[in-house]
């Protein structure tokens, strides 16, 4: 399964953290620091895989992409295929790019909730549930539409709002 998804800036600031195995909150900062140290030590144009047994336990690896000022990191165990995970990082980045139209770090900084929405459409409980960025986009747009609808109708009793949304 996928153990964690992280987006970390090149300034070592976390931009998105999601753990699919329970990690005590007080450990999160150490995990981010450990991962960042590994990443920053790697030169460009080397392989995208790093073994992270020391940080996430035996058999774990991470795959990362370094794009502009961000590292996109997926941590996974022996139940995932390395190259498939690399593809998944690509899907995630593509989806972000589509959602934000040329995504940059600021989009990610200011769209905490939307980022989680996108990620949740892709991965649930460490399992990949959707791999098509188009499909993910559609779902995210629909959620946005529903939310808008819901916030305009939130003052109207529930029965009526349900009738509207039908």
């Amino acid at each position: 399964m996928i153990q964690a998804v992280m987006v970390i800036s090149t300034q070592a600031k976390p931009r998105l953290l999601k753990f699919y195995n329970f990690q005590p909150p007080e450990k999160h900062q150490d995990l981010v620091r450990g991962v960042f140290q590994l990443l920053s030590a790697r030169p460009d144009s080397v392989s995208n895989f790093v073994e992270v047994d020391a940080i996430f336990g035996p058999g774990t690896k991470m795959v990362y992409k370094h794009l502009a000022t961000l590292y996109f990191v997926f941590v996974f165990d022996s139940s995932e295929n390395e190259l498939a995970m690399l593809d998944l990082v690509q899907v995630f980045v593509e989806t972000l790019d589509r959602c934000f139209k040329n995504v940059c770090e600021l989009d990610i900084v200011f769209n905490f909730n939307k980022l989680h929405t996108i990620l949740d459409e892709m991965i649930l409980g460490g399992q990949v549930i959707e791999t098509s960025s188009e499909q993910i986009m559609k779902s995210v747009e629909e959620i946005a539409r529903l939310e808008k609808q819901s916030s305009t109708t939130s003052l109207i009793p529930k029965s009526i709002s349900e009738r509207f949304s039908r």
Binding site: Q23, S47, E82, A84, V109, F112, E142, S165
Partner: protein, 948 residues
């Protein structure tokens, strides 16, 4: 992606103002304020301020205010590591779960899934009802509801919920309708629920989940394959998933989704070892995928499956190796090269030639910019090592280490040391080469492996007699290099080199040079513990030189006079004026004379003077170790000179000469005894016999123990060498044991070591030395030492010289190989069961052995001697039985009183053979272990006939 533009100007950075209290700050405002001051202090201040603000807002009765506060708190706890435990995050989150407003609900679900953790789980049951409601099919199958149930599934799949088994029990049934619809979300959530609470969730969820495997919807079957793959992951047992094989097989042959195929292949790789018929069944479809697939991920998964799970299918393995080589050849993609190396690393020893074919590529990869690739290449290199190519590979790697960055260089040195030292230097045939390699490694630029190199230098010296002259030569090159003295990583190496050259001083070509090297000025840079070794080494070398010198002079008494007259003159000279001694000119002349013959009169004088001037100051050293040894050395030098003073008093020549000889010989014997390796498990082998309670109160023994302390310790370091050293060792105990000690011995014989002469008579070497300080209280000797003969006698013809004897203690190799197999078996889910079975067998063996033990004691007359019975016992039991062996021998000794010498010899021979048989038994057990695996298989759930 564009790089981030500079942060926008903060909206308002002033402290809490009226505006702040009237108009709540949104998350965006919070982010802006956090970015306004990027310094750590500024950020933490902003976080603290925001937290106090949120603390106030979150208690607001208004849901909108509460929701925004919750959102900000979630953000802070997730990305700024704000300590949320002090804030009641869980409660408002659960409160808002029930909100009719979809955005609020979403925020609440996000907060709950991100920040709920076991500490706050007591609150989770409060959410159970809401989750139940959100999951259950409502009358309105609207998009909104689908979205809500998706959120609920998300929370169920989050790690917080997985830790709350109650939730799984209550909500498992609600998942079933979602599963039957084939929702990938529900499938993924079900997998987490099952993993979190197997006993409650499996009866409800397993069947619907298994049905999804056969679903016509590819998204459902893919998700189900992934779910099962996750559930069967290593720490768990894959056996319960065997009945799914038919559905998985269908997926394997029909699915077009690479994701699904990867997961199915992973599952089969875990199932194939459990069911022997599976491998034959899947090998064809896997090979088809391997040849057909264009996706690298799937190709790699096929390679992995074939190499790990189908090693018996030669054609498939060849195909996979071919593909792996294609990966290796991908010049522009480091990912593929890395995975290619990874794949080769999975090959078993049967395909070592295939790895060997790629040796050039692998060797090239050692210099890759990518540390992953370098590490894998190193791993593969070491995997290739055997006794034929170890010299090439190790030399190549060590020369490569000189060119690498420090970290990788040390990785290389570490693995080379580990590989060569494995199983008591099993792979090393030429120890002269190895001694040189060790020194090369020590001199390597970034070497930080001094501890291990030093340890191996000494260890080789102790174990391999034939390597000692080369070791001494190697030690010399290390000692005479003043540049090495400043490198603190090398201190253990230099310490080992000094010890070697002192211990084996008789092999040194030029002792004078050695003494000079050991006393060179830069030795002051060494830590005190190493200096102590240096001083002691000088002592040993000097003793050796004097003994040779005295022997040379043995023929003519007159010369002795001359010598010691010379000494006297020199002493007065050095005493009167240091200038004479210190004058460089004179020293040069002396040194040149000394070079010609290291055992000449001049050499002795030169050495003694050198020692006095350089070691003399150390007598006042703060460090006791150095001080003591310096005292020893200086004391010895003075003794030699005192005899000379006797000469001046006109004592008879004979007397004088005999005194000199006596002194030098005595000192020589002090250092003569061979030191041997001691098994790390020596103490463990003195196992407690049956009926001994180690926790028994020993207060009553207090008087006996105090008397015990007066007996000379058996671990005196300076022990004169003699043929019958073993007997003398026991003497004190026997002679002193007049009353209480012998009584004590009688009562607590089990604590004593066997008194018999266990040293093998004919083998002067190897000695397993019991006088090493490291085993001062556990002296296990003789019986467990043996010499391994070269195991590869057939290939030996290749090398010009035969492999020297390597002293090996019984148990060392056995233990290490046991550990290796234990590690290897850890991957195997069956290991636990297997180990249980084996332990049961061990227990049985020892109990039957106990029975035999009783028998043999009850009817000793039926057996010819005790020996045959004890031998029988030793064959039955493994290591722990050695205790009964000892006690039996004790009885035996007591009965007979003194052992006739020939029975002694027989016994010791028998011991050797039994030791070896124990070893063989250990190996046999390995075979048993691996052979039990197929026996287990039929017990696994029988697979449906459809597949077979």
């Amino acid at each position: 992606m564009a790089s981030a533009p500079p942060a926008p100007a903060p909206a308002h950075t002033a402290g809490p103002s009226l505006v702040d209290t009237l108009f709540q700050r949104s998350l965006d405002d919070l982010v802006k304020s956090l970015r306004s001051d990027p310094s750590a202090a500024g950020e933490s201040a902003a976080v603290a301020r925001a937290l106090s603000e949120i603390h106030r807002e979150i208690r607001a009765p208004d849901a909108a205010t509460k929701a925004v506060a919750l959102q900000k708190l979630t953000y802070l706890s997730s990305l700024h590591f704000a300590p949320v435990a002090s804030h009641p995050l869980a409660f408002p989150a659960i409160e808002l779960l029930a909100s009719p407003s979809l955005p609020h609900k979403r925020l609440a679900y996000l907060a709950a899934s991100l920040s709920l953790h076991p500490a706050s789980l007591s609150l989770l049951p409060l959410a159970t009802h809401q989750l139940h409601k959100d999951l259950s099919p409502s009358a309105s199958a609207a998009a909104a509801h689908r979205h809500v149930s998706a959120l609920a599934l998300q929370l169920l799949g989050s790690p917080a919920a997985a830790a709350a088994p109650d939730l799984a029990v209550h909500l498992a049934h609600d998942l079933v309708p979602h599963l039957s619809r084939g929702s990938p979300r529900a499938i993924a959530a079900a997998a987490r629920v099952i993993a979190g609470a197997p006993s409650a969730a499996v009866p409800v969820l397993f069947k619907p989940l298994a049905a999804c495997l056969a679903s016509p919807d590819p998204r459902a079957s893919t998700a189900a394959a992934a779910a099962f793959c996750d559930l069967a992951a290593p720490p768990a047992d894959a056996a319960p998933f065997l009945p799914l094989a038919p559905d998985l097989y269908t997926l394997l042959t029909t699915s077009r989704s690479n994701w699904a195929l990867i997961k199915v292949l992973k599952l089969f790789a875990r199932l194939a070892p459990l069911e022997s018929r599976l491998a034959a069944r899947i090998v064809d479809p896997v090979c088809q995928l391997l040849t057909r697939s264009a996706a690298m991920s799937l190709t790699f998964e096929c390679i992995r499956t074939v190499l790990t799970a189908l090693p018996a299918h030669d054609a498939a393995v060849r195909l996979a190796i071919g593909k792996a080589k294609e990966f290796l050849a991908a010049a522009d993609d480091p990912n593929l090269r890395y995975l290619g190396l990874l794949a080769l690393g999975m090959l078993g020893p049967a395909y070592a030639t295939a790895v060997n074919d790629c040796r050039d590529v692998i060797a090239q990869s050692l210099g890759d910019a990518d540390s992953n690739i370098r590490r894998e290449a190193l791993h593969l290199m070491m995997g290739m090592v055997d006794e034929n190519n170890i010299m090439d590979i190790a030399s190549m790697l060590v020369s490569h280490a000189a060119k690498s960055d420090p970290e990788f260089a040390n990785d290389i040195l570490g693995v080379v040391l580990a590989a060569c030292g494995r199983n008591v230097y099993e792979l090393v045939a030429d120890f002269d080469w190895y001694a040189l390699l060790l020194t090369d490694m020590a001199r390597s630029l970034h070497c930080a492996q001094g501890d291990e190199i030093g340890r191996q230098l000494v260890d080789v010296g102790l174990r391999v007699q034939d390597a000692r002259s080369e070791l001494v030569r190697a030690a010399r090159t290390l000692l005479i290099d003043p540049a090495l003295l400043g490198n603190h990583f090398l201190c253990p190496v230099l310490s080992a080199a000094a010890w070697i050259s002192g211990e084996y001083a008789e092999l040194t070509k030029d002792p004078v040079e050695l003494v000079e090297a050991l006393l060179q000025p830069r030795t002051s840079l060494l830590p005190m513990s190493v200096r102590a070794v240096y001083v002691h080494a000088v002592f040993k070398v000097l003793t050796f030189c004097l003994s040779v010198y005295v022997e040379k002079l043995g023929d003519s008494n007159k010369e002795v006079d001359v010598v010691f007259d010379g000494l006297a003159i020199d002493q007065t000279a050095s005493g009167e004026s240091k200038v004479t001694l210190g004058s460089a000119e004179e020293q040069d002349i002396r040194a040149s004379a000394v070079r010609k013959d290291p055992f000449s009169h001049e050499s002795m004088l030169y050495m003694i003077n050198l020692i006095e001037t350089t070691v003399g100051p150390l007598v006042e050293c703060n460090e006791v170790e150095v001080q003591e040894r310096a005292h020893n050395l200086i004391g010895f030098v003075h003794l030699v000179r005192d005899i000379q003073e006797l000469n001046q008093k006109k004592v008879a020549d004979d007397d004088k000469q005999s005194r000199v000889k006596e002194l030098v010989k005595t000192m020589r014997t002090v250092f003569c005894q061979e030191l041997g390796p001691v098994s790390v498990t020596a103490q463990m082998k003195v196992a407690s016999p049956d009926g001994l309670d180690l926790n028994e109160n020993l207060v009553e023994l207090a008087d006996v123990v105090s008397e015990d302390d007066t007996t000379p310790s058996t671990s005196i370091f300076f022990y004169p060498r003699s043929r019958d050293s073993v007997e003398t060792r026991d003497e004190p105990a026997v002679s002193i044991g007049s009353s209480s000690l012998s009584e004590h011995r009688k009562r607590h014989g089990i604590f004593y070591l066997p008194t018999g002469n266990t040293e093998d008579e004919q083998s002067d070497y190897p000695h397993v030395n019991d006088t090493l300080p490291s085993c001062s209280n556990a002296t296990v000797y003789g019986d467990n030492s043996k010499t391994i003969e070269p195991v590869f006698a057939g290939k030996k013809s290749k090398s010009t010289k035969s492999r020297p004897k390597v002293v090996k203690l019984d148990g060392e190799d056995f233990l290490s190989s046991m550990m290796a197999t234990a590690n290897a078996l850890k991957e195997d889910p069956l290991s636990g069961a297997l180990r249980g079975v084996l332990l049961g067998r061990d227990a049985k063996a020892s109990s039957s052995q106990k029975a035999l033990d009783v028998n043999s004691e009850a009817i000793p007359n039926l057996m010819g001697t005790n020996e045959s019975s004890s031998q029988q016992i030793e064959y039955l039991g493994s290591h722990p039985t050695s205790s009964s062996r000892t006690s039996m021998r004790q009885n035996h000794d007591k009965e007979k009183g003194t052992n006739p010498p020939e029975s002694d010899a027989k016994q010791s021979r028998k011991h050797r053979s039994s030791g070896r048989s124990g070893h063989r038994q250990g190996k046999h057990k390995h075979r048993e272990r691996s052979s039990t695996q197929p026996d287990i298989v039929p017990q696994a759930p029988v697979i449906q006939d459809f597949l077979l």
